[in-house]
Each structure stands twice: as C-alpha cells, then as structure tokens.
Amino acid sequence: MKKTKWFLPALLMILSLALLVSGCGDSSSQSADGVKVGIILPITGSEAMFGTMEKNSFEMAYEELKAAGKTTVGGKEIQLLFEDDQGKQDVAKSATEKLINQNKVVMLSGGYSSACTNVIAGSAQAMTTPFLAVTGSSDEITKKGWQYVFRGTAAPATKYTGAFWEMADQVIKPKNVAVIYENTDFGLSSAKGFKEDCEKRGVNIVFDQAYEHGALDFKPMLANMRSANPDMIFAVSYVMDAAMIVKQMKELDFSTDLFVGGGAGYTMPEFKDNAGDASEYITSTTLWVPNVAWPGAGEYFENYKQKYGKEPDYHGAQAYATMYVIADALGRTQELTNTGIQKALKATDIDTIMGPIKFEDWEGYTNQNKPITYVVQWEKGNLEVIWPENVKSADYTFPVPTWRER
C-alpha cells in the first residue's frame, strides 16, 4: 500500500505533464510559418530498419535541395514533419489525422507497408489532401480512382516482374516453375501477378505455396518442392526469410537452373550478410540498384554510405527520389492549396535516380507512374544488373551451377 501512495500522484503528474507538452507542441507548430509536408514512416517497430533508411534519405535529399536553393516556395521554406506509424495501421491513421488537421500540412508522403499506405491514402483522399506514396505497393492504392493519391517510385505489386518476363522469354524459357511467397498483401499480390503471367505463356506451375512471414524452418516446404522437380523457383520474401530459404536450400543440396526473388528481401545487403555464400547466383527482380544508369544514382549510394555508414537499397532510393518529386511539384504549383498541388503533381515530368517519373492513368490505375524494373544477380558478392541488356553491369549466369559444382 505504501509504495502505491506516491505512485498514483506521480502518474497523474506525468499524465498532465505529457498533455501539457503535447499542447505546447501543437501551438508552436501552428504558429511556425512554412510550407509543411507531412511524412509518415515506420520509425519504430518491425519495419523500423526501412523506415529509418527512408527518413535519412528524405533528409539527405532535402539538404541537397536546400543547398541548391530549391526548398523555398513563394518565399516560404518547405518543412518536413516526420511522424512514426510504428508499422500499425491505426497509428498511421492517427498520424494522418494529426498532420492534416493539427499541423495543417499542404501534402502528405511516406507509407511503407501496404496496410499503412492503404489507410493513409484513404484518409488523405477523404480529406482531399494530396498524398504521394513512397513504398506501399498494394495494387488497390492507385486502383480506386482516387484523384489525390499519387504513386511515383513504387510499382504496383503485380508489375514488379516486367523486366524479368522479358528476360524469361528470351533467355530462361522456364517450363516447370515453383512459386513460394510470404502470406502478406505484398507476397500474395506479387505471386498472383506472376502466376497470371505464367498462365499466359503456358508455363507449368508445379509447386505453389504461401508460408508464414517470419518462419524459421523451410525444410519441409523445400523438400516437397524438390519432389515437384521445378527448373526455376520464384520466391517473394523479406530479408530474413529470404536468407533462411537459400541457406536451407544449400543445406538440402537442392539446386535449380535459376532462383528468382520477387523484389523486397533478395536484393538487400542484409540478405548477402545473412545468407553468406548461399546468396551467390541468386537472381531477383528489383526497382533500383546503385549501379543503374540513371544520373545521380551512384552518387546517392556513395553519399548515403558515407553519411550513415550503411548501404541503402531501393527503399532509400524511393524516398530520395520522392523528395525531389515533392520539391519539384511544390516549386511549380500556382497556388498552395490542395487542388493547386494536386494539379502540379499531376503535371510532374521529372528525371530522378529511379528514372523518369510521370503520374499517368493506365490499365485501371490512377496517378501511377509506369514502373521500370530490373533483373539483378548476386555475382561474387556484388549485386549486378543483368537485364535489361542496355543497362546491364555484368553478364548473366544461366543456368547457374549446382551447389556441388561450385
């Protein structure tokens, strides 16, 4: 009883103090004069690694733009307001509400997971505030006909494999394919798109299984897959699952002509670190690589590595390019209103480190940039672009040697 006596008043004090702090924070941010852009990213939680990389990239791009004098719009400075969504969708909703209603931002950006991006997009559209999605790749986001929702640097999940199929038709010519994917929105959408493309070409799907994201033992699944005898595997996984899968394939001595990852995990530096030499010859589709031919891509990679001591991947590039798109659109806007910025975004035509970005309406998508995808392969510990051929940084290896031949 004694210890609770002081604790209750102490708690009440903390509570009131916290409320006071938040109250002050709100009033000061309202008085500040500037063009406010709200950015919602997962800074904590299981996606924090990516969220932090994107936040860093936003800030890096902002500093560069500031040095070039491109962050003032009509005499006002662009301000970035970051909010943490913790990777939870109701928190993303709270962040959206706060940025729009409390901080009075002129537009929103960010959105890492599909779920959070969905919620931000829906709320932004309902409150007619322009929202430029960075990473969320669910098809739905730009398929609802929402005029205030834009997606530039991220491809819809079903379109991640464009370059791969070009290569498959000319080089790989797969016959029997195994498809595995994590049972998330991204995994299922990607796999669905891939399977539809298989059907169009008459490629047999001999194995098709979703697995639980974050699983540890893939051997039963891999053993079943081996008995189906595929000549190619297509896998959609985040980084830790990806590393586990290829490591366990090596342990089982299970080889195929080609192992293709569907974006996300298979291109990340952490994948190489965790999978070790099992990562060799693993191929993946991706939206961006540092050695791609677009101007500024290599510099971004080097600068980021120097500044933060870590290698960025395509998520960081998405955020970096998005910041340039935002600054460009705000610079062109006639009037700083939601409709004015919406129009300016719609008229975007800019070259970024992720290639040219334009917001177009096509195949049922609204305000969706037509994505450019690449096929990359790990060769001697480096991620090399192997397709499209005009931007390749190394020759492809196909079929890849079996584990024993290496």
């Binding site: 916290a18 924070g25 109701d90 209603n101 709320s123």
Partner: protein
Amino acid sequence: MKNFNLALKILLVVIAVILPLVIKAPYQLHIIILIFIWAIIGTSWNLLGGYTGQVSFGHAAFFGVGAYAAGLLQFHLGVSPWWGMLLGPFAAMVISLPIGLIAFRLRGPYFALAMLALGEIFRLLFINLAFTNGAKGILIMPEITSKMFYYYVGLSALALTIGITYLIVHSKIGFYLVSIREDQDAATSLGIPTTLYKNLALLPSAFFTGLAGALYMNYVAFIDPNIVFNLSNISVMAIMVVMLGGVATTWGPTVGAAIYIILGEVFRTTLGSANVLVFGVLVCLIILFLPNGIVGELDMLRGFLARKKEGAAGGVKI
C-alpha cells in the same frame, strides 16, 4: 455521498454528449473515437476475464469477425458496411458458442489456450481464403467523413456496452459470475451451473467485441487479417487496457483505454524513436506499482480514507 455520485455521473454524461460541440478539432475527436473503440473491447473482455475470471487471449477472433462481417458485406454485396454494426456482433457471438461449449467444461488454462488458438486459426483462415480477399484485406471509402458522427456512434456503442455489462454484473448473474471466479467448487456446490454461466458471460463479451470490430471497419476503412486478428495488437492489448484501468471495475477499461491511447499518442508525437520504449517502461511501472489498475487503486484509496475518518469519529467498524 450517493447524491454526489449520481451528480458526478450525470455531469460525466453531459460532458460526453456536448464535448464534440466544444472540441471541434478532428484530430482530438479521432483520438477520442479510438478510445471509445478500445473501451468497448476492454469492457467486453472485463466481463469475461475480470468478473468471471476466464482469461481470454483471443478476443481478436471476435473483433476480427465483427470487422470482417462489415467489410465483406461491402466487398461482396455492395451493402453499406454500417449494416455490419448489426451483423458483426451476432457473427462474433456465433463463433464464440462452440468454443465456450467445449472449453468451459474443462478447468485450468484450457479456455485461455483455446482462445489463443482461435484467434490464430481465424487469422490464418482469413489470410488463405479467397472469400475474404486473403491478406490483401478490404479497403473501402467511407461514406461519412464527419468525425462528430463517428463520435456519437462510438459513444452510444460504449454506453450500451457499459450499461449492459453493468446490468449483468449487478444482477443475480453477476454474483454467480464472481462466485465462479472466486471458487468454482464452492459455486458448484451451491448449485450454480458453472458451464452455463461462463457461457452467459462469454456471449455478451463476444457480442460487444464484434460491435467494436464493425465500428473499427467503418471508421478506419481498411482491414486485413494480420491487423484485426493480431495477437499482440488486439488480443493482448485488450488485456492491457483492462489491467491498466482496473480489473473487475465498471470504469476501469474506459480509463485504461483513455490512458493507453492518449499516452501512446503523446509519446509517439513527442519522443521520436524512443516512444515505444518509454511507453513500455511506463506500462511495466503501472502494473508493478498499481496491480489493481488505476480505478482499482482509487477505490482502495477511497476505502482507506473512509475507514480512517470513521476511526477518527470514534467507532471502529469492521
């Protein structure tokens, strides 16, 4: 004292009703709406876990089914998801029936474990079924965007939940439920059909959790299985809200929900990337030092003071 309590309650209701007319800021209303949703879930959990002593680790199953009842109506039939506010609670009740009938015959941790499994089963089921649109979830554009509307819907749903829970707890059934929690053997020996009454606590608990789920779908406008059937973010959070506020108290879950949501939001917006850590530490401290929850400790404190006063007046009452 009684008049004072009544006046306090009336004042509280009046404040709750006129609040959105005073606070017009949508962000603050949004926070209050979230508090309402969590208060409903907490109050429902409390009826089963707090009063009856049947701890459930799977209230996400009821929450998710309620949410999906609303979402699927829109997704498959194009019916307004608001009808889900009617369908969702009943759907949640239907799935609670078999689990209660089976698990409540057993003693010990079986019900808690069965509920834990139920939540996970539903999550996996809804991810893999085509009927539920799998892991892609259901995204809708809400027809009504006025925060005030959601505020009053949330307030009415919470009032209904607290009202009915209060009636149950303060009726004969309520005493049966508490007796089951305190000593099941003694309750049986007095002729209380324990399995039946445990089920009678589970049904309204599932019903109102389903109601909260349907409201959530209508308000947030996007759900997927990993969100609404989430173990840590829904099932465990339901328990946390009750523990924080006060187990087996009328207002505990509401107070707990308010503290949880407000503190979480304040920390998130002011503390940067340390916010989850600080929040977690604070919750640990509360549970360590206020094991009966905030409302529970307040009651004890009041009782302590009252006893002191009576003591001072001369007569010692036992």
